[in-house]
Symmetry: C2
Subunit: 574 residues, 2 copies
């Protein structure tokens, strides 16, 4: 990973540049956020020519480091108006890394209506006209490009939602079987890619794990030990491989923090019908897979393959999606949830944002709660670009504003995910304060609040939540720079040998002598970078708060309200 | 005006309170903004129970002071998310003042779907159920309530847009003939009134000019002199009475600062077809009126009565409306513009915001530029509450976000009015920096930039614009506290006897000894109050900028771009 690819969509020119020295120690989110601060005016129009889209594998991506295949996408977000990084599994990241690219920077803007395809091979880079792909869904886009360029190519793409510049659009890439379902979904980055006229990036790379490593033996030993640590932990070694992320459904419901009926209650009495255990059964029964790796070399294998009743293969159905279209809408049917997921993957829409948006439209009375058929029909409007489809595609906040809804579950314009902040208050702190807009992955306090991993912090009192979220946000920013899947944190938080082994891999790969302090310093640096961008974009203290109703409505079953306000200003204050 | 009426919509209770001492010297915008800062949490949900709607006549309203019948409405805005004051002519203000109310504070929130009518008479206050008025248009609402409560009542109302909580909804009141067309239109205050379940306020007051005045003779003399000053100035004494506000159309077009085709050009070759001279002809030809007073005692009489081809009487057609639906959309037909205006008045929608919104939808290709029929059809969707109607009703910014438009002419979420900021840069400074969101009335630099009233500042250079806007913003805040129509400023800026005469009226009325410095201090205090609220609501420096395209696209015919950025932070910095 010794070069950066710059693609100017105004001129069609592509240039390959050496990696500037200050970027050498950055990867993934660390790199996308730094490039944004360095090159993009924070107050620019997110869908205009001055915004840039940056794709970056992590520091360890493209090696044999276990579960290191995350790809970071970064840009100024059309959803939040602030800095955004969203990362995804799938096979693209390892291929980009193995072609030697530390980052791809997409900049400028072509004439209206022009669509392009970026093709990366060991032989070089081509920017090709792609008008023939305009309007095509995610599944068809991936299938066509695999047919055209080879079964094993990685495809980074946007669906019609991204092409139509919808603020809820994500950037997808394919899993090893070609499902168009691994999304850097959050923050509307698909609309940024759409605004650049870039329909897809095809990556044809013969290698997967061969990014240069300075000390191969030392690296191999560390990677093996790290895999052992992941295998040995009950979450990463047993629960996730057996039931996938949706193992959380019954756990979070039992904890009373499963947002139900647009965050009106913390429990859904039919949660089990849409939980991980039932999902694993359904996957197996229809000839899918209950466990599956979203990219080569993942040892946690938390992905699955869900087959819809008519035989279409969805790809993986994740917990956040099952929640957003399930309890959040009072829908208790996995097939309906799977269909909604399929429509999102095809249109190119973030499922969390779409779930929150449908919840808001149900709040507004546009669709009845619990009506799966109406929800599917409404969501299908997105791909057609009708006024209702546009509203849905624009995300929960804009949809809520259009309908005058006062109970919009979002922070900085981004929908709140599957843990109610009132009874998982550490997550509430993260939602409010992360520069990313409401994001569970930015500081996943479910660990100590609910799962009792890496500590035990009572989820319904305020004590310790600020520190918990702060520490997790710092650690997460660092992990997001490595390309490791965040789920390694379950094991790393509990096993004192986990973090040293990540550092050992980094040191062996780059010939460095990093310490744990250096890694935490990197995390802090990334958060500072992002906060600085957001300040320039106009964010203020009032943007680091939860919506009013979380402070004023009691949540069943624990009868608890969120109460932290001014204390939130202490989270990213170091 | 010795009492404040407080209406709690949660409980249905109304209370009459004495005026607290610190509020005695405040009126209109000065009072609405102060009550908001004192009683409303700046970070509250604008359509929730913690926001309050305040109606306040000005300090001179309800007396014989010429042109003093403005009513201020204030609330946290659902359109901008910040503090908002919007004021209107019409007959309500004088009636409220003559019943002795210095302000009406509407607070709390009733159960969903409940609608009420507030009735004010010399005998007291009643809050009555008004479910029978739900969904009724502005014209019908006023007609029904006049029929029910008497020909001479004042009616403050919201249309279906306000009831449906649309962020572009205004608060209307009637002119002396009963047209439902005098709007405190800006900032979505109609949605706040709608969120309170308040369909209308009927004010039955036998008197118009009899608010107590301490020194009646002194007051009468000053008022007479002030009227003479207004009569003597060419703008307030000749141009406005002859052609109304739309006299500006040809002047602003000639100046090359008439926003055309969603702010793509500064001139419209058919401007004359929709200008004041043609409008006056059309008003007279169909039996309307070319000149007319929107409230008793106005000496400028800049209003008109425009009759639509089928005989419906619109009420007054103003310059900003003629621009928003005319040049802005490349529509050159006064009858089409009149129809669009009628639809807005009936739905209860701000015409400036609606004009900007239709411009944005034309930019997005939803409606073709210049297609009046399609524009009328689209606008009629507002009252029906369809998805497209909701989008239009939500205003230019939300509509633009839903359609991924990058050329949205708005600041702080509010649409930019009828003077392009690139070639009327003093107005650009005002749009960017007023706490109100883009608002020409907050610091109307057209005076010195174009009309050469009160000075001569070149409109297409940056020199002097900061000071010009700052001084106008301070003076305007003070004028908005008096209840005087802002148009008195044309005369006051040119005639050194103007301001002393306003002060003389205030001193005679209240037994004070105010000086010009005191009045300017009041203006500064109001701006500080508003800025403090907005800081609490999350506004930052980046919110005091114009949209990107004004900095990057040259405007014909002067080939000029807006360039002021950091200097803008010096405007309200005293």
């Amino acid at each position: 990973m010794d070069k950066i690819l710059r693609v100017n969509m105004s001129t069609g020119k592509t240039t390959t540049e050496p990696v500037p020295a200050p970027y050498a120690a950055l990867g993934g989110r660390g790199l996308t956020s730094q490039v944004l601060l360095d090159e993009v005016p924070p107050d620019c129009e997110p869908l205009g020519p001055f915004n840039k889209l940056i794709l970056a594998p992590g520091l360890l991506s493209g090696t044999s480091a276990p579960s290191s295949g995350r790809m970071s996408a970064g840009a100024k977000s059309p959803l939040t108006g602030g800095i955004k990084e969203s990362n995804a599994g799938g096979i693209a990241s390892q291929k980009i890394a193995n072609l030697g690219y530390k980052a791809i920077i997409i900049e400028g803007k072509p004439a209206a209506g022009e669509q392009y395809l970026l093709k990366l091979t060991p032989g070089g880079v081509e920017l090709l006209p792609a008008g023939d792909l305009a309007g095509k869904g995610g599944y068809e886009t991936v299938a066509l490009l695999k047919q055209r360029y080879g079964e094993k190519v990685g495809v980074v793409f946007v669906g019609p939602a991204g092409e139509m510049l919808m603020a809820g659009a994500g950037i997808g890439n394919n899993d090893p079987e070609g499902h168009a379902g691994r999304y850097a979904g959050r923050g509307g980055l698909g609309a940024v890619m759409g605004s650049k006229g870039l329909k897809a990036i095809v990556i044809d790379a013969p290698r997967t794990f061969d990014v240069p490593v300075k000390d191969k033996e030392r690296f191999k030993t560390a990677a093996k030990k790290f895999a052992d640590i992941l295998h040995a932990h009950p979450v990463t070694g047993q629960a996730l491989p057996a039931y996938g992320t949706n193992v959380l459904m019954n756990i979070i419901n039992e904890a009373g923090t499963l947002p139900t009926r647009n965050f009106r209650r913390g429990r859904f009495d039919q949660a089990n019908d849409v939980g991980g255990e039932k999902l694993a059964e359904a996957c197996t029964a229809r000839g899918g897979k209950a466990t599956h790796a979203c990219h080569p070399g993942c040892v946690m294998r938390c992905s699955n393959i869900f087959i819809l009743p008519d035989g279409r293969s969805l790809g993986s159905l994740e917990y956040e999606t099952a929640w957003g279209f399930g309890p959040n809408l009072e829908i208790a049917d996995l097939d309906v949830i799977g269909e909604l997921n399929y429509v999102c993957n095809d249109a190119g829409l973030d499922t969390i944002e779409a779930g929150c948006t449908l919840g808001v439209l149900m709040e507004a009375g546009v669709i009845p709660f619990g009506d799966g058929k109406a929800a599917v029909e409404a969501l299908k409007e997105v791909g057609k670009g009708t006024p209702l489809g546009r509203i849905i595609g624009a995300g929960a906040t804009f949809a809520g504003k259009v309908y005058g809804v006062t109970r919009i579950p979002s922070v900085k314009g981004q929908g709140i995910p599957a843990y109610d902040p009132r009874s998982c208050r550490g997550n509430g702190v993260t939602y409010a304060t992360t520069p990313m807009g409401a994001d569970h992955t930015a500081g996943y306090a479910v660990t100590a609040n609910i799962l009792k991993v890496g500590g035990d912090v009572c989820p319904i009192t305020d004590e310790g939540q600020i520190e918990l979220s702060r520490n997790l946000q710092i650690a997460t920013a660092a992990v997001d720079a490595t390309g490791l899947c965040l789920f390694v944190a379950f094991a790393v938080l509990d096993n004192p040998e986990g973090l040293p082994m990540i550092i050992e891999m980094l040191n062996a790969m780059y010939g460095l002598s990093l310490t744990a302090d250096d890694v935490m310093a990197l995390g802090r640096h990334i958060l500072h970078t992002e906060k600085e961008f957001n300040t320039g974009a106009g964010f203020a203290k009032a943007d680091d708060r939860l919506p009013e109703f979380f402070y004023n409505e009691e949540l069943e079953p624990h009868q608890t309200r969120f109460a932290l306000r001014d204390e939130l200003d202490q989270v990213i204050n170091f």
